[in-house]
Amino acid sequence: MGDKVRFFGPWQRLTAQLWLLALVALLFADIEVISVDPWAELSRLALGVISPDFFATEFLLSALWQTVNFALLGVAFGIVLGGPLALVYQHPFVAASCAMVRGVHELFWALLFLQIFGLSPLTGILAIGLPYGATFARVFHDILAQSPSTTERGLPFNTDPLSRYVYGRLGHVYPLMLAYIRYRFECALRSSAVLGFIGMPTLGFYLETAFRQGQYSEGAALLMLFILLIGTISLWAKKNLIPVYLLAALWTIPDIGIIDGGLLWRFVFYDLLPPGIQGVIYTQMELSDGLNQFYQWLASITINQALPGVFATVILALSALGLSHLVALIAHLVASQHSGSKYRAVAGQLGLLVLRSIPEYILAFVLMLLIGPSMLPAIIALALHNGALIAFLLVKQEQGITPSATYKKRADFFAYEILTRVYPNLMGLLFYRFEVMLRETAIFGILGVATIGFYIDSAFAEIRYSNALYLLAVTALLNVVIDFSARKLVARQVEDSIAHGRSCIT
């Protein structure tokens, strides 16, 4: 045994495990192809795409502008929140709290805040800022951990802790942090648009209506504008202009309105209390009756909603993880400047832009018409979106790679020279995105796939906030468990930094 030369290294093992997990998940997934004749609807859709109507949407410019506003203010709030948290992230309590906050989709944060702040922009800003802050805390912490300690050691002895920290640590890694913030800003634009689905005055408000009601010319126009907005970020989001934009955002955000402390009080101390407990506190219900009712409620919601929801969510996310790996590999090959002609690379990168910009909701919506309402549209939509996003980041990374003199633009050379170099990053990104996929399953819940998001959406629709809170808490805990075990799994396989997410940034 010991003499045998082994070529099955940690990366191969990790890949094999990933695929095994995904295949097992697929066994349990509902992937029936159902649709019989989607062509009538699809031809209407195609007609919409070739005849986009840019004048069908009222207040279009305002919607575009508010999309940017919410993203900017959300990210700014996220930085203010996540920056200091990054310094204490090593504390397990902080890490777990952040993982819980991250585990809840922006849409659900928004639905929660909606109960307190109504349609005030505060709802949208907090819904982006809170989970983004938790993400910044983790990623900034991971980035700071890579900062070399040599500088700090050589600093003058009596240097105060803050200067020591800023010059000695932050100085090393702030370009990485800025790059990460830039990347998150793009994500925030998507989040901001998606918050329109529940009523924020962003592009998504009109986009969702247009697609839901079959006004495809309007929908296509909005989608094109949105892709354009994301594709040209580097042109309009100049570093020097950011303060100007921020100030402009503060001026032009819709009226905040009145914050009513009573609503917060009522929401937290009445609405969120589960049945039984509420009865005991606010009515004359006997404690034993109350506890009994509470127990009935807890058992019923756990067995009928939480457990099946968690199961479907994990199955969906794991299947999508495997497929994302495949999509990322193929999309990367197609869009890489090292694998084909320049034109193909440009076309490929355009494709990546489109796939990563279109909200998964819209992708799944179209796929649902094509292949029916099983879990399959959701799996494919998640994989396309995340695969394209990963491929996009890889293409950016490999710009710094100079291949050997004998390099030819062929798949085999590509596999030897380029893929091997970016593969650790690919896997790192994939594991990092898994958390995102888990969260994004929420959106398909709203489309009707029975993930836990489906039950949460139902709880909000039925105005049963205690149900919503319980299911959200389950979602958040699920994320903590998965975050923890994924780090363990990856760290055991590959000792270096991928478990810490280093490769996710550069």
């Binding site: 040599t150 003058p156 002895f157 105060d160 200067s163 800023v166 010059y167 100085g171």
Partner: protein, 226 residues
Amino acid sequence: MLRLEALTLSYGDRKVIKDLSLSIEQGEKVAIVGASGVGKSTLLAHIYTQLNSQAAYCAQSQGLVDALSVFHNVYMGALARHHFGYNLLNLIRPQTHRINEVSELCSALLLDVALNKTVSELSGGQRQRVALARALYQQQSTFIGDESFSSLDPVMAQQLIAQVLSRHPTVIMVLHDCQMALNYFDRIVGLQDGEIALDAPSQILQPEHLIAFFDRKVGSVSDNGG
């Protein structure tokens, strides 16, 4: 000023410094010599931890922050002298007075680069001088240097060492240049295998006494081991 007695330092199981005793008085200019791996850097780092608030330390690893400018890297030598608010202000908007100080120091070190250049753009020799400038900018009475001139040509090295010596009453420096040690330092300490094998005033020493303490030909310019 500094008194080490029966000092032993280890890296894991391996003893790097064994039972070493050394005392250095204020105003002394001490060169530490020795072949690669005898524990010079370890000893020097230890000396710094003993003297800390009185000494400026220019380590071999330099500790430069690649993403920051030349100005900021040098200014870091002054962090302990200023309030943190002032330090942050200088990070965002360097103050004219400090720019002038740093600029003056850089020209004294023959470092002719724009102060707003990031250090990642500099050559090895330039980086070494930025690290040196940072240590000088600490304005301490004692300078502790670990092969601070290894990437420089001998002529420049001599000019710089004169700067270091004129600005600090006490200098403790690891050197890889025999001639420089003899010409500029009062006292030479030679390390062998973690112990002091030689400790004598430089007037009584000749280059051939020191051969055993250098890896290669006497007076070789650079050696990044140790």
